[in-house]
């Protein structure tokens, strides 16, 4: 079973996961109304039902749900995502609350305006043209006061297509474990390479997926790695290569998640230890 076929039965949507994505992108499903936690739960149920973890699908799911979360948080908090990075979680929650209060305030104000509008709807104003004799007599002293460029711009506006919906959030992060596996295996043919080398110039998501691929190689017994110091270079070795096996590689615990933590932290910064 592939991810697109993952069937969801949510409050506001029922159908395959990929259709939900398409609807969100076309803004036919309001992301703000979508409980992403329910999507995650549905996926966990699905995993449980299968009884095994398909890394490929799992990666794809994590990437997509992360992109949705990011998109949703941007929608909810601010239009400038960069600013957000500096906000502490507590502050972010406060800001979210403040926005909810503001939205409520103006929603109530709009109810008041609608009442005014309804009350005034029976009132009409005269909009008859001026009597001809008055119109003729009025000289317009404003010759040349308008800029013809205004007209060209107005027409140009009409010629322009509306901006297309940005797919950047999802398309740039579409990296599969299989691709990264191929990449790493290519490097492994040399016997040894540094992790830095394997992910040079890549975005954060690709780096994370590369870590998954590395774990996969380790699981299959194709590679192991070592790191001399925190934040130091991570050297990846092919198991068949000349370097002798030196016992348990760092971070090699029966639990895969713990294995992942070491290189991931070292690489993504700040928390290694």
């Amino acid at each position: 079973m592939t991810l697109p076929a993952l069937d969801l039965d949510l409050e506001i949507f029922s159908g395959p996961f990929d259709l939900l994505l398409a609807l969100v992108l076309r803004e036919e499903v309001d992301l703000l109304e979508l409980e992403l936690a329910d999507v995650v739960l549905a996926y966990l149920d699905h995993l449980e039902g299968r009884g095994e973890l398909d890394l490929e699908t799992a990666t794809e799911f994590i990437v997509l749900i992360a992109a949705l979360l990011e998109l949703k948080s941007r929608l909810m908090l601010a239009d400038d995502g960069e600013e957000l990075l500096d906000i502490e979680p507590g502050e972010a929650a406060e800001e979210l609350l403040e926005r909810m209060l503001q939205a409520r305030r103006y929603r109530s104000a709009s109810t008041h305006l609608l009442e005014l509008f309804e009350r005034e709807r029976g009132v009409r104003f005269r909009s008859a043209p001026l009597p001809a004799h008055l119109r003729r007599a009025i000289v317009v002293p404003t010759d040349g006061s308008q800029d013809p460029a205004v007209l060209g711009e107005a027409l140009g506006r009409l010629l322009r297509m509306p901006p297309t919906i940005s797919l950047r959030h999802l398309s740039t992060t579409r990296v599969t474990v299989a691709e990264r596996l191929d990449h790493l295996r290519g490097l492994l043919r040399r016997g040894r390479f540094s992790f830095e080398e394997a992910v040079r110039g890549e975005d954060r998501m690709t780096i994370a997926v590369t870590v998954f691929a590395l774990l996969e190689l380790y699981k299959r017994g194709e590679a192991w790695w070592e790191q001399d110091e925190s934040f130091g270079e991570i050297a990846v070795h092919a198991v068949a290569a000349a370097t002798p096996w030196r016992g348990t590689p760092p971070g090699a615990h029966p639990n895969g998640h713990k294995q992942a933590s070491e290189p991931l932290r070292a690489r993504t910064g700040g928390l290694a230890g």
Partner: protein, 209 residues
């Protein structure tokens, strides 16, 4: 009755009052004040003269009551009493301003009032300027939204005018001399080249993606 009123100086509101109130002697119904107020409001709103028949239909009153209401209004809106006059014109009734106010009106209305075009007006005017003659439905199709209020304002401001009818019967519009004057153009040839505002090549490439 209409013929009589025309012969007796149709432009003079006093004659309207005289004519309309004449049948009162013959026992017109006393109009209720609500009907009078409705007729008054209708005359105020309508840009063109309204016949008693039209007023009766709209106010859901009978024509005799309407005539009685008109008589009452003619008395109130009479020269010397009010700055608004009730007049009978071409078989219909209409309010007009007191000629006394003509100079003041000229001073008031000739003053360049806030005259920047709204975006909707600019778009509509641009379409008429470049594509004339062009019909209202066509303008709406190009803009994607109705152009009715913008087109009315442009007509009102004397920037566009009607220019015959399309083969499907829709009124066609073209720009006026006034438009050229306002924009400081000698002729339509002087309108800026539209290509200047076409999407840039980069934008086009982006659009194709």
């Amino acid at each position: 009755m209409r013929a009589t009123s025309r012969e007796a100086e149709p432009e003079d509101a006093e004659s309207v009052a005289a004519v309309a109130s004449a049948p009162a002697i013959e026992g017109l119904p006393e109009p209720d004040s609500v009907t009078v107020r409705v007729i008054e409001a209708l005359l105020f709103l309508a840009p063109d003269p309204l016949s008693p028949q039209e007023l009766a239909d709209a106010a859901a009153a009978d024509e005799l009551t309407v005539i009685a209401a008109l008589a009452e209004l003619a008395e109130r809106y009479a020269p010397g009493r009010s700055g608004i006059h009730l007049r009978e014109l071409g078989g219909g009734f209409t309010f007009s301003s007191d000629p006394l106010a003509e100079d003041a009106a000229r001073r008031l209305l000739s003053r360049p009032r806030a005259s920047a075009l709204t975006p909707a007006q600019a778009e509509t005017l641009a379409i008429v300027a470049y594509l004339q003659p062009v019909s209202r439905p066509e303008i709406a199709r190009i803009r994607g939204v109705s152009a009715d209020s913008a087109a009315s304002m442009l007509l009102e401001r004397g920037l566009v005018e009607e220019s015959g009818r399309s083969q499907f019967g829709a009124v066609l519009y073209r720009t006026t001399t006034q438009f050229l004057k306002l924009f400081g153009l000698r002729s339509l040839e002087e309108l800026p080249d539209v290509a200047e505002w076409d999407p840039t090549p980069e934008e086009q490439a982006e659009l194709r993606e």
